[in-house]
Amino acid sequence: MNSFGNAFAWLFAPEQWSGPSGIPARVLEHLGYTALAVLLGLVIALPIGMVIGHSGKGGFLVGAVNALRAIPELGLLILLVLLMGIGLLPVTLALVVLAIPPLLAGTYSGIRNVDRSVVDAARGMGMKEGRILMRVELPNALPLILGGLRAATLQVLATATIAAYVSLGGLGRFVIDGLYLRDFAQTLGGTIVIAVVALALEGLLILLQRLVVSRGLRRNPTRRRDRTVRPVEIAVETA
């Protein structure tokens, strides 16, 4: 009943805020796993999504990749560890697999949804294909691409907890160690930290969206506030 009280007591205890297993160090580790997986996901999904979206060929791939979401994350991680041994690599791969579907879907649907008459006009004015993709389709697809990026980031951030299962660090340590030691204050405290980091990151990404998306793509370009666009099909699943 008083578990939240205990969790907060754990959270604000001074020993949690220093050292290699303190909260700040764990937050950094956790963000590190997340960033690595999301960046790798972007490097893979962005070019593929752009090319498929631009050419209109290979759309089935997006659906196929989407099916990856059905793989249980923990099972995948254990399989990868069995194959590769314990380390950063299997964890990262497992998280990349999670990051790719929303990134690919966001990029593909973003590019596909650019008004065909706009692309037609660009071509008719004498733009070459590469330029159409980079200068016309990409900027107009940014709201959906960033929507995919936010979905992927949150999902990876939440799931990076599993790194602790295979003896790595990150905020999952608190959750798992707490479970193991039946120290539920620690488990709950760790969960709260993950939630706070997730919210902060979401805030940052919204800010980024406001900075990089053209004002002409907002509903009311004269105002600085923005509606946040998110593709319906990229709903965040709770890991």
């Binding site: 008004d115 008719g124 004015m125 053209s214 004002r215 002409g216 004269t222």
Partner: protein, 364 residues
Amino acid sequence: MIEFRDVTKQYPDGTVAVDKLNLTVEAGTITVFVGPSGCGKTTSLRMVNRMIEATSGTILIDGKDIRDSEPALLRRGMGYVIQQAGLFPHRTVLDNVATVPLLSGWDKRKARARAAELLETVGLPAEMGRRYPVQLSGGQQQRVGVARALAADPPILLMDEPFSAVDPVVREDLQNELLRLQGELDKTIVFVTHDIDEAVRIGEKVAVFRKGGVLAQYGTPADVLRYPADEFVAGFVGRDRGYRGLSFLESSGISVDRVETAKLGKPRAETVADWVLVLDSDGHPCGWLPPGTSVDGSLTREPLVAGGSLYTTGTSLRGALDAALSSPASRGVVVDEDGKYVGVITARQVLDLIEGHPQAVSKT
């Protein structure tokens, strides 16, 4: 000059969209492709800038085969305007207009200056350049579309139903604007529409297409209206083509009647028996004084009934008929080029005049 020589387009599904098209678009004219939906107008137009490749035949521009030019470069030499405008939503209006100059390697400063100049050319205030396309009305977007197509000063302009998506009043504005622009710029314009009224309004030449991509008739608007080549064209230009045809008959031999006139501001004391046309001190018509009006003292505008449209001598008979039919006094007021009163004309006189031109109205 654009020449189509035996140009055929068959889509992969077997549809023949354009069938052995032979047609020459003269330099410096507006040529309109008109016809019912699906008759191959868009396909014909888009083959000119190679947005669609012809299956067979040749298209020459100033004698040069378009297949010898790289598509992107060919297109930069032709303005392209489409129905939905297709403005870039993420760019400001000014940057939209500057697109082709930038593509062609102009520096940014010069391209923007040129774009600002063009906004004015198409009748938009320069401040509008800072807006984004979503902040413009449909008609304004089309103007920006035209400005964008003109930016690199291409000799050729391809326009695919550019004004179909705007309401009729705005459309007429845009048509007038295009005619005014053409008066200054002297481009070779190919203009696609399915609206025969629009075609005869703006076209110097009209190409009527029928289903299957066959050219049914190619000639001046007056010819197409007066001498439709066949039943299809006759049906397409419509039953009221006689009235439309009046647009092309000039009233060289029109004889006008006189009517009682009165000067504004002159003292008068009487009750008028018939309609009296009131003129101002310069002789411009101001309106009609209806029968039974009593005037005592100086004649003001107050008792006047507004006149109908005025007919300027030497212009088309359509205007004369309009003036006669819209006048409250059943007599159209005829004015000279300076707008000064010349005389009046009745609808009967206009019709007699038309009958004197046996070819003016076709028999159906």
